[in-house]
Every structure is written in C-alpha cells, then in structure tokens.
Symmetry: C2
Subunit: 292 residues, 2 copies
Amino acid sequence: MSKDVESSLSDIGPLAVICGGGNLPLAVADAAEKGGRGVVLFPIRGWADPIPAGYRQHWVSFGNFGSFCRVARAEGCRDVVFIGSLVRPGILQLRPDLKTLRLLPKIWRMFRGGDDHLLRGVASIFEEHGFRVVGAHEVAPEILMPEGPIGTLRPNSSQQADIEKGLALLDAISPFDVGQAAVVENGRVLAMEAAEGTDAMLRRIEQLRRNGHIERAAVRGVLVKAVKRTQNLRLDLPSIGPQTIEMVARARLGGIAATAGSAIIAQSERIGMAADREKLFVIGVRATSAQR
Amino acid sequence: MSKDVESSLSDIGPLAVICGGGNLPLAVADAAEKGGRGVVLFPIRGWADPIPAGYRQHWVSFGNFGSFCRVARAEGCRDVVFIGSLVRPGILQLRPDLKTLRLLPKIWRMFRGGDDHLLRGVASIFEEHGFRVVGAHEVAPEILMPEGPIGTLRPNSSQQADIEKGLALLDAISPFDVGQAAVVENGRVLAMEAAEGTDAMLRRIEQLRRNGHIERAAVRGVLVKAVKRTQNLRLDLPSIGPQTIEMVARARLGGIAATAGSAIIAQSERIGMAADREKLFVIGVRATSAQR
C-alpha cells in the first residue's frame, strides 16, 4: 500500500465494526486492518461472541445509541460497518437510553416491515448522527463469495437445475423483503426462509427427513442463498460460515450455492476443506440479473 | 331435487371419495349424499381418520392401485374425488402391487417436483384407467369458502394490509409450486409454507414467539391461505378446519384470510363459533386476478 493511501485512510479515522454473532466480525476487522485501516470493535451484548483481548473493543447494548455515539466519536470513528449474525431483536428488548428514547417513534415505524426495511431505518439513524454506514464488502472485499467452486466438488445437472429454481424463487420473493435462502431438491422447494433464519430452516429439513415427511432423494438437494434485490445498502448480506457446512450436512443436502460477489464467505479455505470432508459442494453462482 | 337429476346421478354411479386425514372427507361425503349421490369411501391407511360404521367404506393402501381399481369398478364408481390432509408420502412408502409396479417409472417422474406436479400425475393415472377425477368443490360446492367474514370479527386496516401482502406473495411464488400459506404481521412476512405444511408452519410461529425471536406485535398478524395459480385441477385446495383456529390462536395471530370460492371450509358454523371464542377473524377474500 502506498504512503498516500495510508495517510488518506488515517484521515478518515478508524472503522467502527458493530459486531453481531459468529466469526464474520473478526474476519472483517482483520481484512480492514490488513488494508491499513484502524479498527474499533463494538460487540453487541447478547449477540456478539467473545472477542480476543488483542482487539480494541467497547461492548454496547441495543438501545444505547447515545453511549455508542459518544464512544465512537471519542475514538474518531466516522465509518460504521454492521456485521455478524443478528437475530432480529424485539423492540421491547431495546432498554433505550435517552437518545434512543427520543428516536422511538421513528424506531417504531422501522419495526413495521421486513428486515431490510428495519436495517435501512437503523442506517439512516446512524447517518443522521454524522456516521457513514459502509458495507462489509467495501472494507473487506476478500470476504465476498467468488464465482465457481470452493473445495473440489461441483453440482451435477440435477443440482444445477435446483440452483436455478432456487435463484428464480428468491428473485420472485425479493420485493416482499422476506428471506435470502431456500432449499430445493429434485425440482421441489422443500423450505423457504422467513423470520426463523437459515439455521432454523436447515434444522427443519433435518426434522422433516427424520419423521419421514421428506425422504432420501435420488439426488441430494441444494441450499441456495441469494442477496435480496432490495438490499441496496448491503447491510445483511447472506453469509456462509463453517457451521453452515455442518448444518447442510446434517440436513443431508448435497451442497450450497450462493450469489458470487454479494454473498459473504468467511474463512473460505476452512470452508472448502470442511465441504470436501462432508462431500458437499459450495459454489459461487451468478445471480439472476435482478439480484446482481 | 327432480327425478331426472336423480336418475342421471344414479347413471354415473356412486362417487369414490379417496380420504386423507381430518374431517373434510366426511363433510364432502355428506354434501354429495345430500345432493342425491351415492358415495363409497376409500380411506387411506395411515392417513385417514376412523370413518363411522354408517358409511360404505373400503380401506386402501398407498401403492395398491390395482386393488383400488378392482373394488371401485365392482362398486360401479367412475368419478373419484381426493380429499383430506395428506402429508406427501415418500416413494419408498408405496409398497406397490403389481399394477402400481408397472407404473413406477411414471410415478418416479411425478415425484420430481412440487405437490401440484405430483397430484396432476396421480390424476392422470386414474384418468388413464377410466376414472374421472373431480374436484371436491364440484361435488360439494357448499364447502367452498364464501366471500366475507365467518363469525363476527373482521380484520382491521393493518390486518387488511397484511392480507393483501400475503396474497401478493403467494401469487408471486405460485409458479414455483411451493406452498399455499404464509403468515404476515405488521407488514413483515413471518413464515412461508413449503414441505412442512400449514400446521408445522403455525407451530413454528408459536415457537419463535416463545423464544423471543418474534415478539408480541402492535397488531396481531394474519394467516393467509390462497390457492395456487397452477392448481387448475383443484386437487389440493387450501382448507380451514376447527383445528386451524386452535393453531392460529396458539400462534397468537389475529385471524385467517382464505381465497373465497377456492379455499375449503368444512363446518363453517362450528368454525365461526370457535373463531368468536378465540377472538379471531376468519374471512373469505377475493384472490388476486391470477389466483381467481
């Protein structure tokens, strides 16, 4: 990196990483630091996993927007990135501080609708308070799903057709701000993600197989993850982690397809090895034109 | 009923009612008999509920298509109606008799795809063997959902908006032959039905509320049931029974909307009373133009 870029990066101050659960937040922090950017982590109590002591960190609570603002400004942060799994909190879980309390009417309206609507509302509150909300893919482009297979396996033609069907289905429900994942097997849609999230959807498949409602198929099906068409702020990109591989294996599916350039894959090497071990494919695919 | 109609009805022989679970099969049988039609029930082992002794009945198994043909012909049945809940069987559960065995390559292809695809295949096999597959709504039009409220409550404007969103969503996924039900609350899609079926979807909502992933909403949401656009044979119409009311109440939703003239409601008086008791609305709504 040239001196010029480094000084321009220090000009804009460290990056505030607001951390949900899982190991994506650390992957983003590491990538941003490798790029010469200072990073301050703001793990969310009750959601974020423990953060190693080496990282500069300030734990925050939902609803303590006032204290976040004070600490982030004192740290010189202007850019903010949201990353990590975040089961949608209830508005009653907020326990708001004074600043948040003033924003409640606005927050109330944000909670009316899908996740993307809510996230856009959250982003607008941060922006109104002088922060700039950036996508994880902007500060850490290396975590974006590449096109083609991760690991050694590839989908066969039946699975390829299931992938196409899943992508078309997710594209069709995109305007409704529902979910970013579906399971398709032998041309049949087995599950569509909504409020329950991807993990619960995969556990459902496991359950339906166990009680015989879905039987072992001729060709094992596919988990398809695709970014929502409405996801223009890219605040909640569909992501694949090592535990996704485990759950897909337990659901006895054949593999995972995710939209290249928009889905997030942390630790792709580790995921490739896990996929090979479980005899699953993981592949980055072109989204339909609307998802691109 | 005039003598002419009665004799023409006896000419076409009794109606074969192939019974899945629940009390819809008896409602259809009763309605057909009230219309002067003879009825022979074929309850499916492992799926149908017990049938009172007063009904003419022959229990059948999945995969015993040959024995069904023999008995139905001996009874003089030409028209066949499929009715009742039927969790999709696995192809391995068939235990085929000789005739079914010969049809296996065709059946195998039928199992590749959604429920509607499978049902159309099943219907075509019956038709090729000289039976006429009729919709439950044709032999018992009184079980069709009427337009307007059942019981005394009506959706408020927020719930009306949720109903519209649910109908539009189900219309959008219709070409994918997925499910016929969704749950929408305060503009947010909480769940979409696929292989798990409506009951399991409602239990999921109950569960998500219990563990706090969905909190008590300002206005309680709506279960929306709409016939699939591809459902041209009307073999698996979305239906509402007394147990649907119970499950919707347990999921703490505000009511049920189903497409008038295409969804099925058995025992609507009993359902209206149950809905009033649980303070739920049940309403027949106009489908979007594509669903009509």
